[in-house]
């Protein structure tokens, strides 16, 4: 058992003959922003899907907060304190923004079914409490004017923030952000960088982020891991990883499976 906050040990994910992720190990410290970069198909989102238990790893173990989470039921992940966003936004489109945030509170609702059907006073108190938490998030992310709008009617950039808010509503210890800047313009991406900084500082949430925008990665990350074809290429500070010759090669093309050749520049 590892005493790290979060650790992945030799995890692998095979789909038939395709090895999407192969013996990847990494640790994340409490309170840091850990970014995963890499070209398309490198296995970044697959790692997220393993952590949130949409996939079961073919091999390896995942530990979170002193607990082995490799095989627990997917819906129990949220209760442990892990929340996530999705690459292409998976909001509840036919519900209002407020309802979306309240659904984010689900892992904190403990009222038994029958008392909900009768709407007992305890349920009412819990509901007011959930609402207060949701309003705090609305305030934090400046979403007041969209509160009662259907998600279907909101612009893409706002939805992206709502999804972040929904994840925050569950008061996570670990937040998984899957390409938080995808589909956003430069201005919105800068805004996203501020949110991430605030979440880290004010809410002291640990973040693992998959991201393509190197500016955003450099701005917020404590450490960066570069993947290619399911394997780790490099790990370290943002500058180290971006300057790493294998990473450069993976991005601008060439033979991705020949990291040992031309090792002159490495050292």
């Amino acid at each position: 058992m590892s005493d790290e906050f979060f650790s992945a040990r030799d995890i692998a994910m095979h789909f038939g003959g395709i090895r999407a992720v192969e013996s990847v190990s990494f640790d994340v410290q409490r309170g840091e922003v850990f970014s995963i970069i890499g070209p398309n198909g490198a296995g970044k989102t697959t790692i997220f899907n393993m952590i949130s238990r949409i996939y079961t790893p073919t091999a390896g173990t995942l530990n979170f907060d002193g607990q082995d989470i490799t095989r627990i039921a997917p819906h129990r992940i949220a209760r442990l304190g892990i929340a996530r966003t999705f690459q292409n936004i998976e909001l509840f489109t036919n519900a209002t923004l407020l309802q979306n945030l309240l659904i984010g509170r689900h892992s904190h609702s403990t009222a038994p079914l029958l008392s909900q059907l009768a709407f007992l006073p305890s349920v009412r108190r819990a509901e007011v409490d959930h609402r207060k938490r949701a309003e705090e998030v609305i305030e934090f992310l400046d979403l007041q004017r969209y509160r009662d709008q259907l998600i279907a009617n909101l612009p893409y950039g706002v939805r992206k923030v709502v999804e972040l808010g929904r994840a925050l509503c569950s008061q996570p210890k670990l937040l998984l952000l899957d390409e938080p800047s995808s589909g956003l313009n430069t201005e919105e991406t800068e805004g996203m960088a501020f949110w991430i900084e605030d979440i880290k500082k004010d809410l002291s949430v640990t973040i693992i982020m998959v991201e393509h925008d190197m500016k955003l990665v450099a701005a917020v990350s404590d450490r960066v891991m570069a993947l290619n074809q399911g394997r780790i290429l490099a790990m370290g500070s943002s500058a180290e990883v971006q300057g790493h010759p294998d990473v450069v090669r993976a991005y601008i093309g060439g033979e991705p499976e020949a990291p040992r050749v031309e090792s002159v520049a490495a050292a």
């Binding site: 989102t45 949409i54 999705f86 690459q87 292409n88």
Partner: protein, 294 residues
């Protein structure tokens, strides 16, 4: 020996019935593959095909084969118009809306057919009616059943050649796999979809005419659709050979159940087969699983 013959007899009967289910299921699958619409009125298209044939052959006194062809053409044209006038307008609505739409259409078709042709069962004489083909050692098949099986085989051959050899058939396959790409390649996707509806309706008409020697025509014959559903689901709903195989399986199981199990189990069989297949393999026997990527 007796037992073997009896089982063979049941299997042959089941195969004939199953071919009909398979052909109706084929219509479901063609439309579903191309447009993701599920046509709950497919059985009713078959019913209309039967009434068209009845009109041409019995009421107008045309030659059986000519009437057969005309019925296919008329039902096909009806299918084309149905898509062009109604279903094309609901593209983009949830799948369930289309299900409800076709259920509504089924009501309308039944009532309209009842208003035109009446609610009594009718039929007409075919070259296969009440004729027997003897296969030796006691195995006797009606020519009506043989004609169903042979007809299905011919139909499959024609469809196979059409989809693999003709430009239009290949364009249809392309549109089914990727509408957008097909559109950019200059394929008139909307017309192609209407033509697929026409083919499905035409296939339903073939099933109807082949069924005539075995079963009377009436407005409720479209309820055979639920058995065809079982066939399509068994075959994975996306697979054309699967639909036919599924149909034959349902037909045979039904016959065997009708013979060996207590009375009344026959009607239950197709439903139970359908439900159990869905429970064990929600994606059908031959279906493939695709998961949404997040």
């Amino acid at each position: 020996m007796d037992d073997v013959v009896r089982i063979l007899q049941l299997v042959a009967n089941g195969t004939a019935a199953g071919c009909i289910y398979g052909m109706v299921a084929l219509g479901f699958v063609l439309i579903y593959k191309a447009t993701e619409m599920v046509n709950f009125a497919q059985g009713e298209l078959m019913m209309l095909g039967a009434f068209f044939a009845f009109t041409f052959i019995e009421l107008w006194g045309l030659n059986y084969w000519l009437g057969f062809l005309l019925a296919i053409a008329a039902t096909g044209a009806f299918g084309y118009l149905l898509d062009a006038l109604v279903l094309r307008r609901v593209i983009g609505q949830p799948q369930f809306a289309v299900v409800m739409l076709t259920l509504g259409l089924a009501f309308i078709f039944r009532a309209t057919a009842g208003a035109i042709w009446g609610y009594d069962a009718v039929g007409f004489t075919t070259p296969f009616t009440n004729q027997v083909a003897n296969f030796g050692s006691g195995l006797v098949l009606g020519k009506d059943q043989v004609s169903i099986i042979v007809g299905t085989v011919i139909l499959c051959g024609v469809l196979y050649l059409f989809f693999s050899r003709t430009r239009l058939g290949i364009a249809m396959q392309a549109s089914s796999q990727n509408q957008l790409a097909a559109y950019y390649m200059g394929i008139p996707v909307r017309t192609v979809f209407s033509l697929i509806w026409a083919i499905s309706a035409g296939v339903a008409a073939v099933a109807a005419v082949l069924l005539v020697p075995v079963q009377m025509i009436d407005v409720n014959m479209g309820l055979i659709g639920i058995k065809a559903f079982a066939a399509a689901v068994l075959g994975g709903f996306g697979s054309i050979p699967g639909a036919l195989v599924g149909g034959v399986i349902v037909g045979i199981v039904e016959q065997l159940a009708g013979y060996y199990l207590p009375a009344g189990s026959m009607e239950l069989t197709s439903n139970i087969v359908l439900l159990s297949v869905l429970i064990v393999r929600p994606q059908g026997l031959l279906g493939q699983t695709i998961r949404k990527r997040v």
